[in-house]
């Protein structure tokens, strides 16, 4: 297997212990991208980003440049950074805010300049105490350095950036829930339409919401140009991407690899990446893009890590997290734990999600505990059908946001791939793995 020699775009400084400091940042080319951007017109910066097909790295994969171009023209415009990383097994934005906060801030100011924002907010997941301290500390230094605030680097462009802590709610990663939370309210996703905060966002003003990793790419894109970026990857999936690899691998961690040119097999088995499965056990299943994604089996190992490639195969790259499950894994238990998560995190606005998640959790629990019935397997699929009619991919939606329609992914995957294991639980009156 070949791992491509792609440059590291967003993790280039992580070999240094002091990668979070202004001193290290400046010694490694920091804020040069911003200086260059400020010498260009805002439109040219936006065009450059549009040209690289920078797919949003948060989960939905919407092109950042297009998001910007949809902004309604108004005197007040906001840029909001989504740093609420909470999708289970996703831990790459956590790394970026803790280890390279200046890179994020530089990306924020470049984006704010391109869209001519009037203020920027960095919403950081509340549980990231160290991340919040690192971003605030970096921001204080960035103000002092003249990279944020009044008349940045003498360019005449000014922007204030505010760090805002969340307080523990998965749903606030949904961009309209995040805006509600930033307004000081419960994190209830907003009813669509409008589909995009670009029309009606924070306080009703046009707003761009971009993910941490998405923005962290911008300094490199501006410095090296769109051609250097689009030379990496293929099709719509350009550049590199961070993948958070977790579960049954020798080296769990965050890896930056070239999109499309790298496969699931490379990521999981290459000695310099995942290093394979401990004890050389057999691979049972992969969750390819956060727990909202349908699962893959060993037959998908050679699939390229590209947004469209994975989409066409019936799942998604989503949040960039990959969970590896070996043959010792009880899939009923895995589906139960993921469903329990959705049940705990459902905001409660929509009946199918609020009630469905709870019923699914209870049924899975009783199968795992040995109290299940044969009809429970069809019952699970029936409840899933109420949440996402047809239980197809991409899912049909019956709720305000995609949390509800994501719940069936793990359950339907486990049943379709391993129906017999559910029946063994019922027949034996318990979990064969315990």
């Amino acid at each position: 297997m070949a791992i491509t020699e792609a440059p590291r775009i967003v993790t280039s400084r992580l070999e240094h212990d002091d990668s979070h400091t202004l001193e290290r940042y400046l010694a490694t080319g920091g804020y040069e991208g911003l200086r260059k951007a400020l010498s260009m017109s805002p439109e040219d910066v936006a065009r450059e980003v549009d040209a690289v097909s920078l797919l949003g790295r948060g989960g939905a994969g919407f092109p950042a440049g297009r998001k910007w171009s949809m902004l309604r023209k108004a005197p007040t415009t906001y840029l909001v950074v989504n740093g609420d990383e909470s999708e289970p097994a996703t831990f790459k934005d956590h790394l970026l805010v803790e280890r390279d906060p200046h890179q994020l801030i530089e990306g924020v100011v470049i984006a704010a300049y391109a869209i001519q924002a009037t203020r920027a907010f960095i919403y950081v997941r509340g549980e990231f105490a160290l991340g919040l301290e690192r971003v605030q500390s970096a921001l204080n230094d960035a103000y002092e350095h003249g990279a944020v605030g009044r008349d940045i680097f003498g360019s005449g462009f000014s922007i204030d950036v505010v760090v805002h802590p969340g307080a523990g709610a998965y749903i606030c990663g949904e961009e309209t829930a995040l805006l509600e939370s930033l307004e000081g309210k419960r994190g209830f996703p907003r009813i669509k339409p409008p589909y995009f905060p670009a029309a009606i966002g924070l306080y009703g003003e046009p707003t761009v919401v971009n993910n941490v990793e998405t923005l962290s790419n911008l300094p490199w894109v501006i410095m090296n140009g769109s051609e250097a970026f689009t030379a990496l990857g293929a099709g719509r999936s350009t550049g590199t991407r961070l993948f958070a690899l977790a579960g049954h691998v020798r080296n769990p961690g965050v890896y930056e690899v070239e999109m499309v040119k790298t496969t699931f097999r490379d990521l999981i088995f290459a000695p310099i990446l995942g290093g394979g499965i401990p004890g050389d056990r057999e691979l049972k299943a992969i969750i390819p893009g956060g727990v909202s994604a349908p699962w893959f089996g060993p037959e998908h190992l050679d699939l390229p890590l590209g947004q469209d490639e994975v989409g066409e195969a019936g799942s998604m790259l989503g949040s960039g997290s990959i969970v590896v499950m070996d043959d010792s894994t009880c899939v009923v238990r895995a589906a139960w734990r993921i469903t329990r998560f959705f049940w705990r995190e459902s905001c409660g606005q929509c009946t199918p999600c609020r009630e469905g998640s709870g019923w699914l959790e209870k049924i899975l629990r009783r199968i795992e505990d040995g109290d299940g019935r044969e009809a429970d397997v069809d019952l699970l699929m029936d409840v899933c059908d109420n949440l996402a009619p047809g239980v197809s991919w991409p899912p049909q939606q019956t709720t305000i946001c995609v949390l509800g329609s994501s719940i069936p992914s793990s359950i339907a995957s486990a049943i379709r791939m391993f129906r017999d294991e559910f029946l063994v639980h019922v027949k034996d009156g318990g979990c064969p793995h315990v």
């Binding site: 017109s41 805002p42 023209k73 005197p75 007040t76 415009t77 909470s86 289970p88 097994a89 996703t90 831990f91 956590h94 001519q116 009037t118 203020r119 509340g126 549980e127 990231f128 105490a129 160290l130 301290e133 605030q136 500390s137 204080n140 103000y143 002092e144 605030g149 000014s158 204030d160 505010v162 805002h164 802590p165 307080a167 523990g168 709610a169 939370s181 930033l182 307004e183 000081g184 419960r186 994190g187 306080y203 958070a244 690899l245 977790a246 579960g247 049954h248 769990p252 961690g253 965050v254 727990v291 969970v323 894994t329 238990r333 895995a334 734990r337 993921i338 998560f341 705990r344 905001c347």
Partner: protein
């Protein structure tokens, strides 16, 4: 928005709360950050703190409580000095989180969701805290500890009990120890004027 009634929240907390309010176009946006500040003082959101926060941001106490109760990190009941949140979500579960949780419950002699009799530890079973490269992992007052074993957990508890970790892990409620230096540098009117000029230039000075 009178705060003449602030007798529970300290003068320092109220000053910092006002600084936060000034960072946002609408005071209500500062609600959650101010709730964190109140927890820094008390460890949890006391009813008298909720009343005073409501006055600071121009809401009713019910609106503050209704918002705060949505969020896991904001506690409307007392918690221990150290809140230990053990992740049991999929990545940690695959690497022994439930076995670890069993050990922790036995070791602290509390079930998840409860506080030890001495008020030192509150144990929580939490959702993914995004540290899966070091699973199984946990957080103590939101400071993350990875690759946890039963032995390393017992060592951690010893360190917390005898005070040797006080610098690494502050008492519950202190979330961010780095303060913002200075308020906003550009007022809204200036920004809008600058943006209009920039936009006029872009459209050929029309």
């Amino acid at each position: 928005m009178s705060t003449a009634g602030s007798v529970h929240l300290s003068a320092d907390i109220v000053t910092r709360a006002r600084e936060l309010i000034d960072l946002y176009p609408h005071p209500r946006s500062a609600l959650i950050p101010i709730c964190h500040l109140a927890q820094e003082q008390d460890g949890w959101l006391r009813p008298e703190a909720i009343d005073e926060i409501a006055a600071l941001v121009g809401l009713t106490p019910a609106e503050v409580l209704g918002t705060a109760s949505f969020y896991e990190m904001l506690h409307t009941e007392p918690v221990g000095t150290y809140v230990i949140a053990v992740c049991t979500n999929i990545a940690c579960m695959l690497r022994g989180a439930y076995e670890l949780l069993d050990h922790i419950q036995d070791s602290l002699e509390v079930r998840a969701g409860a506080t030890t009799a001495d008020g030192m530890f509150t144990l929580e079973e939490t959702e993914c805290i995004a540290d899966c490269g070091r699973a199984p992992c946990l957080a103590v007052n939101h400071r993350f500890v990875g690759d946890v074993t039963p032995e390393s957990f017992d060592g951690l508890v010893d360190g917390l009990r005898n005070g040797t970790m006080a610098d690494d892990i502050p008492r519950h409620g202190t979330l961010v120890r780095v303060r913002r230096q200075g308020g906003l540098r550009v007022d809204d009117a200036t920004i809008r004027a600058e943006r209009e000029t920039a936009s006029a230039k872009a459209t050929g000075g029309a």
